[in-house]
Symmetry: C2
Subunit: 445 residues, 2 copies
């Protein structure tokens, strides 16, 4: 048995970042990262393999980040965490003793018990190069592609597959709107319009009864009795924490199925930390269990776990939920609570929105309208969430909003917020959307 100071299980966003952070904060410690994959896919880049990027091999996390940070990489599969002995055992017959262990085993695609999901050419999205290569080969040939799930993954797969393949692409979404868990009505409506303009068929309020076919998928039967043709089906309805190892080792598991961690990312075993999709999360808003699973949450958690291994210095404030997507040239970004989420959390709230060009004057290149909507708690004026729809800079505007949310800034604070503006980069200082959305909310408080 080899003994090392820190063992990290998992090589995706959480594991990699936890290892790098451990190295940064504990330069004298020996860090080993064990992962089962020869090559690690950039998780958020997976939909783009099927269009813009072109192949799984062009969507890999470079291992140079490990060697550069003096982290030993072991490619092997951990089969057991022996907490009493303080060691992990692998398929390859090795065992590694640890002082501290970080579990970053990620998630697996959610597969609800819909009949026919076992048929050939029904594709859950495994983060595996060979699986995705096979999937790409099949999708190239089919005439009709059905994507089950109209969240980010479904929408991104639809947009990318439409770019590259000849297939008719439909999105089947149970809820009244695509992207409905992340955006309010008017944003979802615009997203669906853009999907249609791009030749994709979003079918909302549409429940799948079963997938039909003889060995291989031939169609999707809907709850309303219709059957639509489909020679391939992508299942993009979310992910479940991959906690088999942790569960077998007796670590406590939480209400959403993740490994329970405290705010320092420590599990029910003092020497074991967990982060990323496999870890249970609580919401920044009220502290209830949060089902969100995002690479950016994973890395934030990993930076907490990695820094705390030999002495607590960081605590999680809970999951805010900040993310974005793109349809064509229009970016959609969200942070914190939408109106409907605010309602579900029991807040009394007011909203304000502002829309303006992202350049000034309008003759500047790259012109695109940008809309910002903000949600505030009514009595205190504290910001609860924001949504942005506009050009690609929306992906960074949302990070300014996220900072304000994490600092519990009020509408008054944001109304006098000092921004930088520039003709070629942003809206005018008079029209700056973020600030004007706060003013609009104040007017109805």
């Amino acid at each position: 048995m080899k003994h090392v100071d820190v063992v990290v299980i998992g090589g995706s966003a959480a594991g990699l970042t936890a290892a790098i952070t451990a190295r940064r904060h504990h330069p004298e410690k020996k860090v080993v990262l064990i992962r089962k994959e020869e090559q690690v896919l950039i998780p958020c880049g997976i939909p783009y393999i099927f269009g813009t990027v072109g192949s799984p091999e062009k969507n890999l996390i470079p291992d140079g980040m490990l060697s550069k940070n003096d982290i030993e990489l072991v490619i092997d599969e951990v089969t057991e965490i022996d907490r009493d002995a303080g060691e992990v055992k692998t398929v390859g017959g090795e065992s590694f003793g640890y002082d501290r262990l970080v579990v970053a085993t990620g998630s697996l695609p959610a597969m609800p018990p819909i009949p026919g999901f076992e048929l050939e050419n029904v594709f859950p999205i495994f983060k595996d190069v060979d699986h995705l290569k096979h999937m790409q080969g099949v999708l190239k040939e089919v005439s009709d592609l059905a994507i089950i799930g109209g969240g980010f993954i479904g929408v991104e797969f639809a947009d990318e597959c439409k770019k590259s393949f000849k297939a008719n692409v439909s999105i089947l979404e149970m809820l009244p709107r695509c992207l409905m868990l992340a955006y309010d009505e008017e944003f979802c409506e615009r997203a669906e319009e853009l999907l249609k303009e791009r030749g994709i068929t979003p079918m909302t309020d549409t429940k799948v009864k079963r997938v039909v076919g003889d060995g291989r998928v031939e169609g999707v039967e809907l709850a309303d009795g219709r059957t639509m043709p489909a020679q391939a089906v992508i299942v993009g309805i979310g992910a479940v924490a991959n906690v088999t190892l942790a569960k077998n080792a007796g670590l406590h598991i939480g209400p959403t199925g993740g490994i329970i961690v405290d705010r320092t990312m420590r599990t029910s075993d003092d020497r074991i930390y967990a982060c990323g999709d496999c870890a249970e999360k609580v919401s920044f808003f009220g502290g209830r269990p949060s089902p969100l699973k995002l690479a950016s949450i994973a890395t934030a958690e990993a930076r907490i776990a990695g820094a705390n291994l030999f002495g607590t210095r960081r605590e999680s404030i809970g999951t805010v939920g900040v993310w974005s997507t793109v349809i064509g040239e229009t970016a959609f970004a969200t942070a914190g609570l939408t109106e409907s989420l605010a309602e579900r959390h029991g807040y009394e709230f007011v909203v304000g929105a502002a829309e303006a060009p992202n350049r000034h004057p309008a003759g500047m290149p790259g012109l695109h309208s940008m809309k910002v909507k903000l949600v505030f708690e009514k009595r205190t004026g504290v910001i609860l969430g924001g949504q942005v729809m506009g050009d690609k800079a929306a992906g960074e505007v949302i990070n300014a909003i996220s900072a304000c949310i994490q600092q519990r800034m009020t509408a008054e604070d944001i109304a006098v917020f000092q921004t930088g503006t520039h003709p070629a980069l942003t809206s005018s200082p008079v029209s700056y959307q973020f600030v004007n959305a706060a003013e609009a909310a104040i007017a109805v408080m």
Copy 2:
């Protein structure tokens, strides 16, 4: 005499925003805006008239913003503020009584006493359509253009003039680097490289002795004795507060020459507010007088002044200083203190920087490297400033950094900051520059 509740003098960013804010917060009040210009130029867009935008007429603030907000526009020049009578008088012979007055008279180009500045074709940058049209006509024809001043204005004029005109373009900067008041060495160096790649000649450590010519400019004589040919000279060395009216009315004037205001933007007269370039400013860092003059500062101040007119509700936290520029396809953005400004303010500080692609994987379109550098107070870890160099989204990244500065967040807060990331919009969550720059600083604290 006409009596109105609120009179605003000035129609640029500050005056317009003060009037709109007054309307929003005091819907029952009558608001009149008096300005002398028939048409108001977008101030930050002025350099772009000479290249990308094409003419002054395409760079105007639309008057629709006034009518839409039920603000009466009077085009006339105010000649006197009679504080005892509570009225302003105009060239046109009108007088307006006011309950509250907002002075937003802006700034004028700084003109140091360099001999020859009175020659024909030496152009200070007046915010005036006819002046700029004439200037455009002249610049089109000359062979050699000298721009005095290598700050934002100088650099932007150089880049735009080079795009459209045949002239050799030189920038004459007294300091060792262009853009040196806003960026540290490595950023300035890259900016100068980009200027050179674009065929512009930045001449630093270069002091102008006088402008020479017979009636019309023919050259610029430097302090080292050389004379360089120039048939036109642009003077872009800053601006001075336009306070003649205020001074004549006996309002107190501050150390940088602006109208003294308290944190609520009230002048030494309880019924008179001032905002924008004409108002004296204090730094967010330590509260000393600040010479910064930016449209985005003007609008933030105007939102404070406009809301406070009939009851104080907002206070300024002082000027952070957030702004950006673009050279070719590379944006430069800054907020708060650079290393050298931090030193001048007496801080002990540490810095951290991180550079990474703005997309993940690298095959995503729009790839550009983005570098973020952060400056932190050493003992408390509080962020003092940030600089960004990268793609156009840098203009919004700096606003996230600005939020963190205004909230006095620490490096630890930023290291666990929850960002949104997306393959088509930002760097990867593992490499996210802002967060990693904080981690890099923590490593040396």
